[in-house]
């Protein structure tokens, strides 16, 4: 590994540690992280006579989507307003290191919250994991993908977090309904299947179902490749947007 890559990885990790201290360990953020899956679970479970096992993958999908993509889009415009983002931009590191540092915070937060949700599901509902290793890997990959989604939106040159959240929710909320979370993909009509195939959340949910229930609609390879490609696309578009707006 070249010296440059190591330098940038170290800088990215410094940014992640700083973000964890400033944003992720705030009581409000932690409370949001813990309460969010609980309320999601209740809204899923109440009034539906479904076994807990079939609800957990969807719950984890939503937890990962929202926890990974929520803080970056708030932190970046806020830092732009107080000019601390410029401190990162003026440091002798690559822009990729800044993005990676920011994304990693979202990944770790999302992992922490989803693992709490899985632990609670195991303790209180007796849910076991069919493939814990695949599930853990899927959690990391999906968290990275959605964290980068949030950061891609944060590259719009605004100093107001509300502007970014509005745009982001315009995408995140429809994703909830077209990704086979409430209704499994295999039972959707053809047109809805087509639409759902464009959502990275569909593939994340498919992986989580495999990890928890042992069932899969697409294939492990397809799910992993789509998530990786989506993460790469969000990173690429984010960097292009920054370049365009900063010039």
């Amino acid at each position: 590994m070249s010296k440059n890559i190591i330098i940038n990885l170290k800088a990215a990790w410094a940014i992640t540690k700083k973000d964890i201290k400033i944003y992720y360990l705030k009581p409000g953020t932690l409370m949001f992280g813990v309460m969010f899956p609980l309320f999601m679970f209740l809204s899923f479970a109440i009034g539906r006579n479904l076994p807990a096992l079939s609800l957990i993958p969807g719950l984890i999908s939503l937890t990962v989507l929202f926890s990974a993509s929520s803080i970056g889009p708030v932190a970046i415009p806020t830092e732009r307003r107080v000019k601390t983002f410029e401190r990162l931009l003026s440091a002798p590191i690559s822009f990729y290191a800044i993005i990676l540092g920011k994304a990693l915070g979202g990944v770790l937060f999302s992992l922490f919250i989803s693992l709490i949700a899985l632990l609670a599901a195991w303790l209180f509902l007796g849910v076991t994991m069919a493939s814990p290793f695949i599930l853990f890997f899927a959690l990391i990959l999906a968290s990275l993908c959605f964290s980068l989604l949030g950061i891609m939106f944060a590259m719009f040159p605004t100093e107001n977090p509300g502007d970014i959240m509005m745009m982001l929710n315009f995408i995140r909320l429809p994703l909830m309904f077209i990704s086979g979370i409430f209704i499994p993909v295999e039972t959707l009509p053809l047109w809805a299947k087509l639409v759902s195939s464009f959502s990275p959340l569909t593939y994340a949910n498919d992986l989580f179902r495999f990890g928890i229930e042992g069932k899969i609609h697409f294939s492990l390879t397809a799910d992993l490749v789509v998530l990786l490609l989506s993460a790469g696309a969000f990173l690429f578009i984010g960097i292009r947007l920054d370049k365009k707006f900063r010039e």
């Binding site: 201290k21 400033i22 401190r87 002798p92």
Partner: protein, 316 residues
Amino acid sequence: MAINKQNPKAIEVLGLTKEFGQLVAVDDISFQVEKGEVFGFLGPNGAGKTTTIRILTGLTKPTKGKVKIFDYDIEKETIEAKKQMGIVPESSNIYDDLSAWENLIFTADLYQIEKNQAEKKAQELLKTFGLFNRKNDKAKSFSRGMKRRLAIAMGLINNPRLLFLDEPTSGLDVESSLIIKKIISSLSQRKITIFLTTHDIEEASRSCDRVAIINHGKIAAIDTPENLKRTIQSVQSIEAVFNKTVSWQEISSLEKFPFVNKIQKLGDKYKLFTDNPEKTLSVLWNFSLKNKLRITSLNTLGPNLEEVFIKLTKDK
């Protein structure tokens, strides 16, 4: 002006232009800053100061032109060029939720400074800037002056060869302002190049080896503060105090001389603006003899940099 490869300057700017659509924010400017020089960059709001600094620090790309920092091209060798600099923007961009210590160590991490070295340097800077006793307090509990001191300390954590200081003492309390001025002076003695933007013209006059005045995106003047002052001789003046009160009618009679441009009464002093101090002194002497007055105090004053600034930015 050609860029000299043999003896690289701290900053070399050649034909720098930045356009935002139809607006030309920086219009074909060129200048050089020598190693160890304190270089003042003055201009009214909207003159192109901030855009120029953003280009020099690699935050914005120019439309045209070249910038070299210690011979590193800011566009092609951005990381190496950035390693040479410390940047202290006008808004003290520190992390309010981190302590002074954490702010410094985080900045050191961004500059890949080894842990032991970073801790040693952070300790030294906190002491220099009078913040050591508050090192574990979150920056949000700091006064504006303390935040500014911390921001400058963060700008120095990587031992930069070139420090960009944007309005370092603007709106600060006397204590912080004095500490910062002392530090600027000690940095210049240590041959650290300082690129200083300020609205405080007297500060620029006191601290800078050379000053550039930018207006409407163009460099209106670039010279030493004293040379700039000499460019507008018409605002030289003589201040005199007499042993007795002089009536306005009597003293204003001196305005009949073509080289006496204006007379002002300032308390017990009379200020005669002139473009010929020598002749004015002579008529003032004759005036005192004729009116049986004794001159108890006499000062000849050159134009201050503020007057130069106003004249140059108005003329352009």
